[in-house]
Symmetry: C2
């Protein structure tokens, strides 16, 4: 019998889960809409039933020893999901307590970006690193910070909100969903680069295949494909996105002096269109003692199932912290 | 016999030392110019002799179990002082190795701001905190960051350079000694507020007692005293300094979610003239989940001997980490 962790990634649209061993092999997996059920209780009942069904396929070879969950606004310390704007469960949801009542196993929760960072440490490109940062580029910009081999939660579990550092300290800049202006994620994220495309289409007169696409229809993937086909507006938008990210990451380096910063999420598919300007503008803005030392790398987890693997990695890490008596 | 640590603070002008017990009591102390001797070897020979002389006063009651050193550009990992611009010893100085050859004891080195942070944790206002930041406001702006109860050194020992985060990401702003522009310490430090005074004296026509003082003669203490006497320019300069610091500390909170940020150094004597705008502009720029949670506090170490106490605290912390076999 092999020990496995049940990793659960609760997203705004879908919830994915998988049984994952210590080497990162997914034995079996499943998926359901996060909108299933009227309440969180209904949803968890359905999730539990799906998980049990999938587990039957591997019950002769695997023993589940814990559950790791990544969810928007998931708080490691309190075990709750707090007012997640993209989930229909409002207020404070005691997710760890609820899942423990089903699974009778240790359950660990954190937000998706922190789970990605732990996944990078356990399964990905940061296996031998003790100081690094993961930046997730999705609808918003999330981040997970590792210092001295431990995730940085801060005193209240809310550390790692690089998406809400300020590109412009003068209170101007793009309006952010958080109610402020000038937050990094309004420039650097799938949504941020869409906003940049529309600004550049307004400011410049170059031909672009993106001129035929409405704001609602435009996706980061379309911008990536356009850049790869040589579309000047699309390339310039990646240049601008990478510039803003590189400049702000110089502040992150000044705080933490990480060995590497991993970029994670769909925008990473743009490869050198994104990485080249990030690296250039980071170096340009670094204090001399940091120059040439900080690697900007794509996530070593690849692009599939990474959130489920990160959630599982969280539980592996916590279970390995305290040796069983 | 009581165990004590020899704490040594190497400053640009003077080097102070003291024998300090676990409760922060300084049994005896001394001081000498850092410029003594031709080479670092000469200096350390003189320092060793002074330390031995002072120790005679307490040799019947105290046993020295380690040495902690705070020095500009002191690197905890390498035990070296690297190219410190304010010291006359150039290049890389293997200070830990040299001091061990004299004292035959464990020697620990870090930079002055990190030493201040450990001092705050061992002797000061952060005794029960596991996540906090210390900002030292001297000639420049230094910082020491504590996460999960451990100092953040980063992968190379250089973490905590908040003085070189960028107030202006567009490559403009005040010229910094580091060769870049717009670094936080060009606005927020004893030198930074002097620069602000001169800018405000140029921009405005208000009467100010500071109009009679040359740039070279002006000190932060004079600006503090002028503010306390109601001088509008001086008060406005503290308001501006506090505003820039508060805004940039919002980024620090977004990274680390600390329980408190301690301000340390001579500018702290301005009390509410500095703390009020820092608190106001920090709160104004915080993401909502952080609002009302982060304390801005004066250092609990007071204003005297704090650097020596921080250096001693470093050694206490390291010696307590590894239990003697």
């Amino acid at each position: 019998m092999k020990d496995v962790i049940l990793g659960i990634d609760i997203g705004g649209t879908n919830t994915k889960f998988g049984f994952i061993d210590r080497d990162g092999i997914i034995l079996t997996q499943g998926e359901l809409p996060t909108t299933e059920g009227e309440t969180v209780h209904d949803f968890l009942r359905i999730l539990y039933s799906e998980v049990q069904n999938k587990f039957k396929k591997i019950e002769d070879e695997a023993k589940v020893i814990g559950v790791g969950v990544g969810a928007p606004n998931g708080n490691f310390y309190t075990g709750t999901i707090e007012n997640a704007p993209n989930l229909k469960w409002h207020g404070s949801v005691p997710l760890v307590e609820l899942l423990q009542s089903y699974f009778k196993l240790p359950v660990y929760l954190t937000n998706d970006a922190n789970a990605a960072a732990i996944g990078e440490m356990i399964y990905g490109g940061a296996k031998n690193m003790r100081n690094f940062v993961v930046v997730t580029l999705g609808t918003g910009l999330g981040s997970g910070i590792v210092v001295n081999g431990e995730l940085v939660y801060g005193h209240d579990g809310n550390a790692g909100e690089l998406g809400h550092t300020l590109v412009n300290v003068k209170g101007s800049g793009r309006v952010c969903g958080c109610g402020r202006r000038g937050c990094l994620e309004t420039y650097v994220s799938a949504t941020g680069i869409k906003r940049t495309v529309y600004k550049f289409l307004a400011d410049y007169t170059d031909y672009s295949e993106l001129r035929g696409v409405s704001f609602n229809d435009l996706t980061a993937e379309m911008i990536t494909q356009a850049a790869k086909r040589g579309d000047k507006i699309a390339i310039d938008c990646f240049e601008y996105t990478g510039k803003v990210l590189g400049m702000k990451l110089a502040d992150t380096v000044a705080h933490l002096s990480p060995e590497a910063i991993f970029l994670f999420g769909g925008l990473v598919r743009a490869e050198e269109f994104l990485f080249d300007p990030v690296r250039y503008h980071l170096e340009k803005n670094l204090l001399s003692i940091f120059k040439g030392k900080v690697k900007i790398l794509p996530s070593g987890l690849g692009l599939n199932n990474t959130a489920v693997m990160g959630a599982a990695a969280l539980a592996w890490k916590e279970l390995e912290r305290v040796p069983v008596a």
